[in-house]
């Protein structure tokens, strides 16, 4: 329990009372890097939305430990970059600054220290060059960097990323995953990352959650991402 930030016990998740995944029991440790894999519609996004409190579980429970400061756990959420409405005239900096809103009371101005910290997060995410440009006009990869900076600006205990490399080329994918791995180690935060790209993630993740046919298979990349195990998962033979 001491090392576990999040514990899921016999969790059942889904929409409108219809379960997508059932009987999920697992724990997310501090300083861990967990990749969530699975086909489209397997429940990857449903799982992270439930963890973030955006959806209520259908059954079971989620226990969250306190952060190292004794405060409630802070999630830094990086949603898919394409979901934002371009009608909002916000710069990359203004989007990243939203990460600090959890620490600034309603009706108060954002202190200069928080602005400076946001700039630091943008710099760390390699997004300082385009931070003054319109967020809606940035490329997919640039938006992802701004959103990662925003998540870092929350001072998270857990970084939750929903397909951060979707629509990003192989080189940029490598750079983004390297950055996330480095950030996890430097800031000692847990990382939960949803992806389809198991080839890229196997070098970074310490734990894999593979969602398949309503169940969660878990293990280390070396155990789960072997040709034999993958063939078993997909119920096909190996020639």
């Amino acid at each position: 329990m001491n090392d576990a930030l999040i514990i899921l016990e016999n969790l059942s998740i889904g929409y409108n009372g219809q379960p997508v995944l059932s009987g999920i029991s697992l724990s997310i440790a501090r300083d861990s890097f967990t990749a969530i894999l699975g086909a489209n519609g397997s429940g990857k996004s449903t799982l992270i939305k439930t963890l973030l409190g955006l959806l209520s579980p259908l059954a079971g429970r989620i226990d969250t430990n306190q952060s190292s400061t004794g405060a409630p756990l802070v999630f830094g959420y990086v949603p898919q970059a394409g979901q934002f409405d371009p009608i909002y005239l916000l710069t990359g900096f203004e989007v990243a600054l939203m990460g600090t809103y959890g620490r600034v009371r309603p009706g108060h101005f954002i202190p200069s220290a928080e602005r400076a910290f946001t700039r630091e997060c943008l710099r760390a995410a390699g997004a300082q060059e385009f931070a003054r440009e319109q967020f809606s006009e940035l490329s997919g990869g640039q938006k992802q960097r701004v959103l990662i900076a925003r998540a870092l600006a929350t001072r998270p205990d857990v970084l939750v990323l929903d397909e951060p490399t979707a629509g990003v080329d192989a080189e940029a994918t490598h750079t983004v995953l390297e950055f996330i791995s480095r950030t996890r180690m430097e800031r000692q935060i847990a990382v939960l990352l949803v992806t389809h790209d198991f080839a890229a993630i196997r070098h970074h993740a310490r734990q894999i959650l593979w969602l398949h046919h309503g169940k969660v298979l878990q293990g280390a990349p070396d155990e789960l991402l072997t040709p034999e195990r993958m063939a078993e998962i997909f119920e096909i033979g190996i020639s």
Binding site: K49, L52, G53, L54, P72, F75, Y77, P79, F84, D85, I87, Y88, L89, L90, T91, E94, V95, M98, Y101, G102, V104, P106, G107, I110, Q134, R150, T154
Partner: protein, 288 residues
């Protein structure tokens, strides 16, 4: 033309309350209109003023239904009654429509269209059976901005000041829940509270605008300045300021033109806003 301008600007001008109220509404409506445009609730900007005006019609008919006599002209008590009716209907409608929007079932345009047409028909039905309807209340619903008392002006100014102060104070929270609701939830913001606050501000502004200038003009000021400003603005501050300036300036200019050429003020304002929007669209297309 300049003589009529000096008349309007004179402190002794007979219709000065109408000028002040028009300009107040012109400056304020776009500030909440910006949120309607950003949240893609433009049709709500059409339906809501109409529902609000139905609230006025029903509230003003309640004394008649209860057998209580009111004075022939809209008095302060009648105005307060109208304000309560307008506010109640605006809030109930906006909360009901927002709730259905959140559930995500059916067609939002269909719901808003139905709300608009039913509200408009209900207003006509209620007023057709109300002898007071011919004594000024229809004028109020149409937006004849000429009979604004000191009490109306003070009530409008006080309400709009409250709306502007709240919008300014909680701008970052209202922007966050509009731009990225899931992020707001993960930051442990009470999104339902902030949603309700925003709807309350929209409802208050719409109610005041409908009472002062009528549903058609309220719709014009809510949306057209915000749509025009979005063509040129580069950030949220510019967007809000430009929309508000466009609304305020159009309200004053519209009043001036209407006074000069003896036209009804409200429709003049809306046509002027339409012309400005068209001009803004062409200019934006020409710009690199």
């Amino acid at each position: 033309m300049m003589a009529s301008l000096s008349h309007i600007l004179s402190p002794d001008f007979l219709l000065r309350n109408s000028v002040y109220t028009s300009v107040l509404i012109g400056f304020s409506c776009p500030l909440v209109g910006v949120f309607l445009v950003m949240r893609r609730l433009v049709f709500m900007g059409v339906a809501l003023p109409q529902v609000s005006s139905t609230g006025v019609a029903i509230a003003l008919s309640v004394p008649l239904w209860l057998g209580v006599k009111l004075s022939g002209h809209p008095s302060e008590s009648a105005h307060m009654l109208a304000f309560i009716g307008s506010m109640t209907f605006s809030l109930l409608a906006i909360l009901a429509l927002a709730f259905m929007e959140r559930r995500g079932r059916g067609q939002p345009e269909g719901r808003l269209g139905t709300a608009y047409v039913v509200a408009a028909s209900l207003s006509i039905l209620v007023l057709s059976k109300n002898p007071y309807g011919e004594l000024g209340w229809l004028d109020m619903l149409k937006g004849e901005v000429i009979t604004i008392s000191d009490f109306d002006l003070v009530l409008t100014a006080a309400t709009l000041t409250l709306v502007l102060a709240t919008l300014g104070l909680f701008h970052k929270e209202l922007l966050l829940i509009s731009f990225d609701r899931p992020m707001a939830i993960t930051l442990r913001k009470n999104v339902v509270f902030w949603d309700v606050l925003l709807y309350l501000l929209i409802g208050l502004t719409v109610s005041m605008a409908v009472l002062s200038v009528g549903p058609l003009i309220a719709f014009g000021f809510l949306l057209i300045p915000a749509l025009a400003a979005h063509l040129f603005a580069r950030n949220m501050r510019q967007f809000t300021m430009l929309a508000s300036l466009c609304g305020g300036a159009s309200a004053f200019l519209g009043f001036w033109i209407a006074y000069q050429y003896d036209l009804p003020v409200g429709p003049t304002d809306v046509v002027l806003l339409g012309v400005l929007y068209a001009a803004a669209w062409f200019i934006a297309k020409l710009l690199p």
